[in-house]
C-alpha cells in the first residue's frame, strides 16, 4: 500500500498526537545548574572547583594513601632487601641492570637503600610501575570516568571552546588533553576525534610536549611537591603560547564544532567499572612494558657510560642556555627513555628552586616517552617528524625563555 503526500502528513499528525505530550516546559534545578556550568561567568569558577577536586583526590589517594602510605614501605622495607639478597651475582652486570645499580665506595660495591635509587628493572622499574604509576592511573581514570558519565565533560568542552579556538583546536580537544594527563598513549589515540589534519597535528604535538603523564605527575608530587604548581603553570602557559604559534604557521582548516550537551545524570557503576577497567588494561598492555624496558635500557646506558658521555657533551648547552647545573645533563639525557625516573634523579641534585622548576619543565617538554613515540608513529611518520621538529624548536625556545625570565627576576 502506498500513501499519498497528504495521507503521510495525516499519519504523522496522528502518531505525534498519540506519542508526544505538549505543554509548557518548566526548568528543573538540574537544567538550571546545567546552564550555570556552561556560562563563562559561572562556569569557570565551577570548572576551577572541579579541577581542584580532581587533583586533590588524585594527590590524597595516589600520593598519601597508596604510594607513601603502603607501597614505599612494601618496596623499600621488604621487596628491595629481599631481592638484593636473593638475586645471585651481587655487583655483576645483570644484577646491576635488573636489581641494583648501586654505588662504589672505597672500591666496594654498595647497595642502595631505596627503590628510587636502585635503578634496577625489578626494583625501580617495578616500584615506579606498580607503586607510583598504577595508583595514579587508577584514581585518574576513575575520576575522569565519573566526570564523563555525570555529563560534565561536554560542558567543559563548551566552556573552553573559545579559548581552544585561539590555538586552532575546539572544545573537544579537552578530551585528549585530559586523557594525556593519565597516559599520553590514549591521549594521542583520542586526537582522532578532531576533524582536520591540522587540528590533529597541533593536538598531538602539544600533548607530546606540554602534557605530563600520570607517572611524571605522580613522581613530581612525591619528590618536588612544593614546586608542582609552578611546573604545571609553566607547562600550561607553554601549551597556549606554542599552540597559538602552531595555529598561525600550520596550514589547514580549524572548523567549528557542534555538540549535544546531555543533561546531568547519575553515573552507573557498571559503566564506570568498564571504562576504568578498559583504560587500565590498555595501560598495562601498551605503556607498562615500555616503563620496565625503559628502566632496563637506562641502567645499561648508565653502566656503559653513554649517558655520562652525552651528559658531558651537552652540559655546556644545559648550563649556558637553560641555566641548570651541569649535573642535570645526565638525567636530562636519560629522560629520553624515562621521564619519571629523570625527575627523581633531578630531585637529589643540589640546585635553586628556580633551576629545579626549569629542569623539571625541560624533562616534561624534552621528548615524548617511547610508548607515545610509538603511538605517534602509528598516526603517520610525516606527523611524527613534524612534531619532533616542533619539539626541538620548542625545547630550545621555551627552555631559553624560562632561563631569561629567571635572569630578569634575579632568581636564575
Amino acid at each position: 500500500m502506498t500513501l499519498g503526500l497528504e495521507e503521510r502528513w495525516t499519519l504523522i499528525d496522528r502518531i505525534s498526537k498519540a506519542t508526544v505530550t505538549f505543554g509548557k516546559y518548566e526548568h528543573t534545578l538540574k537544567d538550571a545548574i546545567g546552564e550555570l556550568t556552561v556560562k563563562p561567568l559561572t562556569g569557570i569558577p565551577v570548572a576551577i572547583a572541579i579541577l581542584y577536586g580532581f587533583w586533590s583526590v588524585f594527590g590524597s589517594f595516589a600520593g598519601t594513601l597508596c604510594t607513601d602510605g603502603f607501597f614505599v614501605k612494601l618496596f623499600d622495607g621488604y621487596w628491595l632487601p629481599w631481592i638484593q639478597e636473593a638475586f645471585p651475582g651481587q655487583g655483576d652486570l645483570l644484577y646491576r641492570i635488573l636489581v641494583d645499580a648501586g654505588g662504589i665506595d672505597s672500591g666496594e660495591f654498595v647497595l642502595s637503600d631505596n627503590c628510587f635509587e636502585a635503578f634496577g628493572a625489578l626494583t625501580s622499574g617495578l616500584f615506579v610501575a606498580i607503586g607510583v604509576v598504577l595508583p595514579a592511573i587508577v584514581i585518574f581514570y576513575l575520576m575522569l570516568a565519573l566526570l564523563e558519565d555525570v555529563g560534565y565533560m561536554p560542558r567543559l568542552a563548551v566552556l573552553i571552546d573559545t579559548m581552544l579556538h585561539k590555538i586552532g583546536l575546539h572544545g573537544y580537544a579537552i578530551v585528549p588533553t585530559i586523557l594525556s594527563l593519565g597516559c599520553n598513549v590514549p591521549g594521542v589515540a583520542a586526537t582522532r576525534i578532531l576533524e582536520t589534519k591540522k587540528q590533529r597535528f597541533i593536538m598531538m604535538t602539544l600533548l607530546a610536549i606540554f602534557i605530563p603523564c600520570g607517572a611524571q605527575i605522580g613522581i613530581m608530587e612525591k619528590v618536588v611537591p612544593d614546586l608542582l604548581g609552578w611546573i604545571l603553570l609553566y607547562l600550561l602557559i607553554g601549551y597556549f603560547i606554542f599552540g597559538y604559534i602552531l595555529n598561525k604557521i600550520v596550514p589547514g582548516r580549524a572548523p567549528e564544532f557542534l555538540i549535544d550537551v546531555p543533561p546531568y545524570r547519575r553515573p552507573l557503576l557498571g559503566n564506570i567499572a568498564k571504562k576504568v577497567g578498559g583504560r587500565i588494561r590498555g595501560f598495562f598492555t601498551v605503556a607498562l612494558p615500555f616503563v620496565m624496558l625503559g628502566c632496563a635500557i637506562v641502567s645499561v646506558l648508565y653502566l656503559l657510560g653513554v649517558i655520562q658521555f652525552l651528559g658531558d657533551l651537552l652540559a655546556p648547552i644545559f648550563v649556558n642556555w637553560f641555566g641548570v647545573p651541569a649535573e642535570t645533563a645526565g638525567p636530562l639525557v636519560a629522560a629520553f627513555l624515562r621521564k619519571d625516573l629523570a625527575v627523581a634523579q633531578l630531585s637529589v641534585i643540589e640546585m635553586t628552586e628556580y633551576q629545579m622548576i626549569t629542569a623539571v619543565v625541560l624533562v616534561s617538554i624534552y621528548f615524548p616517552c617511547v610508548a607515545t613515540f610509538a603511538m605517534m608513529l602509528k598516526e603517520g611518520w610525516k606527523e611524527l617528524l613534524g612534531a619532533l621538529a616542533a619539539l626541538v624548536v620548542v625545547v630550545f625556545a621555551y627552555g631559553g625563555l624560562i632561563h631569561l625570565i629567571g635572569i630578569l627576576l634575579g632568581v636564575a
Binding site: 546552564e35 559561572t42 565551577v46 576551577i48 577536586g53 587533583w55 590524597s60 589517594f61 602510605g69 614505599v72
Partner: protein, 154 residues
C-alpha cells in the same frame, strides 16, 4: 491557596536571609584564605585554621570566595529556579572543598606512618580528625541546609 502562597513567600524570604548571611561569611572566609596565602603567614583561631599553601589556600580560597559570591548573587529573587540554582551551586562548591579536605584526612589516617605498623593505631587514627579545621569544613554543615530547600521545592 493564598495561605500556601504566603507560606512559600515566607520560606523564600527565610532562605534568602539565611543564604545571604552564609554568603557573607563564606566570602569572608574565601578572602581570608587568599590574603593569608598571599601574605605567607599562618592564621588559626579556636577550631579554625586557614590554610596558607598555594593549593588549598590560594586555589581553594578562590573556590570558597566563588561559593560566597554564588550565595550572595542567588539570594535576590531566590524563588526563581535560576537564582536558586546559584545558591545550590554555592553549596556544591563548598561540598567539593570540604569533601576534598575530609578525603585527605581519611587517606592520612589509615596508614601507620613510615616507621610504624601497616595500619594506624586507633589514637593515631582519631587524632587526624581532631580540630583545627579548614573554613570549608566548618561551612559544610551550614551549606547542607540547601538540601532542605531543594526538597521543599519538589
Amino acid at each position: 491557596m493564598a495561605a500556601t502562597g504566603q507560606s512559600q513567600s515566607t520560606a523564600s524570604s527565610g532562605a534568602a536571609i539565611y543564604f545571604a548571611i552564609l554568603g557573607i561569611v563564606t566570602t569572608a572566609f574565601g578572602l581570608a584564605d587568599i590574603l593569608v596565602t598571599a601574605a605567607g603567614s599562618e592564621f588559626g583561631y579556636g577550631i579554625l585554621e586557614i590554610p596558607n599553601d598555594i593549593f588549598r589556600g590560594g586555589w581553594g580560597g578562590l573556590i570558597v570566595l566563588s561559593a560566597g559570591l554564588f550565595y550572595l548573587s542567588g539570594t535576590r529573587n531566590i524563588g526563581d529556579i535560576h537564582q536558586f540554582a546559584k545558591v545550590a551551586m554555592g553549596s556544591i562548591l563548598i561540598w567539593i572543598m570540604a569533601g576534598c579536605d575530609i578525603f585527605a584526612m581519611i587517606t592520612e589516617s589509615i596508614p601507620g606512618g613510615e616507621d610504624g605498623p601497616w595500619l594506624n593505631t586507633l589514637p593515631g587514627f582519631l587524632e587526624v580528625y581532631a580540630s583545627p579545621y579548614a573554613p570549608a569544613v566548618l561551612l559544610l554543615p551550614f551549606s547542607l541546609v540547601v538540601i532542605y530547600y531543594i526538597y521543599q521545592r519538589k
